[in-house]
């Protein structure tokens, strides 16, 4: 028996679950088709920052979109907690990017100045701090830290709990979660989408592709071009320690339960989520130079996950011209943008179109430039 829904969301990671939660909240009948536990799931491997500073150089609208989500995050976290009883520990004390040399600090300042000098750039607070000011806020910094950038909009969450809360919450809202439904083919006929999976067919009036790197394969089935590629990031986590870090740093953060996460590597390795000692030891070495007290902590786990990356690093939000009702949402900041996906994007999708004044800039048509002669 084919199952029918108003909207099918392909992908049950943070992007798909946030959109499905937002759709469920406004009364849509929604199915989430998920690949299952074998999926390359960035949502289980991310660094859990809700991050604003340094995003949007080359696309100021992305900075604005990120600030908007950051501003909505507190209310979003409260709403999830009220609904599910799960505290996702959203904190927004501001965050740091630390420099280990004068050259790094100068480079940082130059990037941020270029970012904020863009026309149409959203105004928000940020500053470059010298070592003395950084040390007042982060007393444990090591002698090699020469300064850093600080932005009061930055924060972080417990992202595994966010993932759990979105899944619990969407199911409370009546969303049908269909694990082990990898979509092999999508057909569109008479304004209806049919998703073909080994577990049977699912039909819907609208469709949202939120399958991360899988969107590259699925998009063309409904007239969408989604050029994304995997980009590996590796993470180290230490045993739980008493709180010592009052602010998240882009490469070092202490979780609500005390473990210290170290990360932020970028590698172009295709669909290979393995961990290597070379990158891991570099991550650990830089973290120890930033905070020498970390050196005595035991590492309890390392892992790698695959970001969903476009060639310019910005998200893709698009709607199909040939299969009306098909949408795609893909980004590498599924945590930061979760509030927007749930509270802004989902209602627009339910309404049937993405307003071009906000979303044209995020269309994958931006990549369709003729090759230079």
């Amino acid at each position: 028996m084919a199952r029918e829904f108003d909207i099918a969301v392909i992908g049950g990671g943070l992007v798909g679950a946030a959109i499905a939660w937002g759709l469920g909240k406004i009364g849509q009948r929604v199915a989430v088709l998920d690949e299952g536990d074998i999926a390359f799931r960035a949502s289980r491997g991310n660094f859990a920052l809700v991050w604003v500073q340094s995003k949007g150089l080359g696309m100021p609208e992305y900075a604005g979109w990120t600030v908007r989500s950051s501003e909505a995050w507190g209310g979003f976290a409260d709403e999830l907690k009220e609904q599910t009883g799960l505290d996702i520990c959203h904190q927004r004390p501001g965050g740091f990017h630390l420099a280990l040399s004068e050259a790094e600090l100068a480079n940082r300042e130059s990037i941020l100045k270029r970012l904020h000098n863009q026309p149409a750039m959203q105004r928000y607070e940020w500053e470059i701090m010298d070592r003395a000011r950084v040390q007042r806020m982060l007393p444990q910094v090591g002698p090699e830290v020469v300064g850093g950038s600080y932005c009061p909009l930055d924060g972080h969450v417990n992202s595994p709990r966010l993932f759990r809360a979105l899944h619990a919450g969407m199911q409370q809202l009546g969303v049908t979660y269909l694990p082990n439904h990898p979509v092999e083919q999508i057909t569109y006929r008479d304004r209806q989408f049919v998703m073909h999976t080994p577990a049977g067919e699912v039909r819907s009036g609208k469709l949202v592709l939120a399958a991360g790197n899988g969107n590259a394969r699925l998009g063309p089935m409904v007239g969408l071009n989604v050029p994304v590629r995997p980009q590996r990031g590796q993470i180290v986590v230490t045993e739980k320690a008493a709180p010592f870090l009052n602010y998240p740093v882009v490469t070092v953060r202490q979780t609500d339960e005390g473990g210290v996460m170290l990360g932020d590597s970028l590698e172009e390795t295709g669909f290979d989520p393995t961990v290597g000692t070379g990158v891991i030891s570099t991550i650990a070495e830089r973290a120890v130079r930033m905070f020498p007290v970390l050196a005595r902590l035991n590492v309890v786990r390392t892992w790698a996950a695959l970001r969903v990356m476009t060639q310019d690093g910005f998200p893709i939000y698009d709607q199909s011209a040939t299969c009306p009702g098909a949408f795609v949402a893909t980004c590498h900041s599924g945590v930061t943008l979760a509030a927007n996906h749930a509270l802004v994007l989902a209602p627009l999708i339910a309404g049937g179109s993405l307003p071009p004044e906000t979303f044209e800039v995020f269309s994958a048509r931006r990549f369709d430039v003729p090759a230079a002669a």
Binding site: E239, K240, A241, A242, V293, R296, L297, N298
Partner: protein
């Protein structure tokens, strides 16, 4: 709780547990010395604060974490006692820097 066998050998090694002097046998692990001293838990967990004691005695379960000579979260079942060693039971999370 646990008692030593009558022929277990001399209690020749002096250590302290939470500052109190305790005698252990050469070759004891810290975990064995904790049990012999009648300690019923050596730490509380970092998140829920429930008590824990040495369990597997072979380095697998990580239940026996204690502070040894100022270094936190050491596995008591893998460290042999040494003369003058200072063992401290732990409450909650390890303090950073020790």
């Amino acid at each position: 709780m646990f008692q030593r066998l009558p022929d277990a050998g001399d209690l020749a090694v002096a250590i302290t547990i939470d500052g109190k002097p305790v005698k252990a046998r050469a070759g004891d692990t810290v975990a064995a010395a904790l049990f012999a001293a009648g300690i019923d838990h050596c730490r509380t967990t970092p998140v829920s604060g429930t008590p824990r004691a040495p369990y597997c005695m072979m380095g697998v379960c990580f239940e026996c974490l204690v502070t040894i000579d100022g270094v936190g979260n050491r596995q008591a079942c893998l460290v042999p006692v040494q003369e003058g060693m200072s063992v401290e039971t732990q409450r909650g999370k390890r303090e950073i820097g020790r």
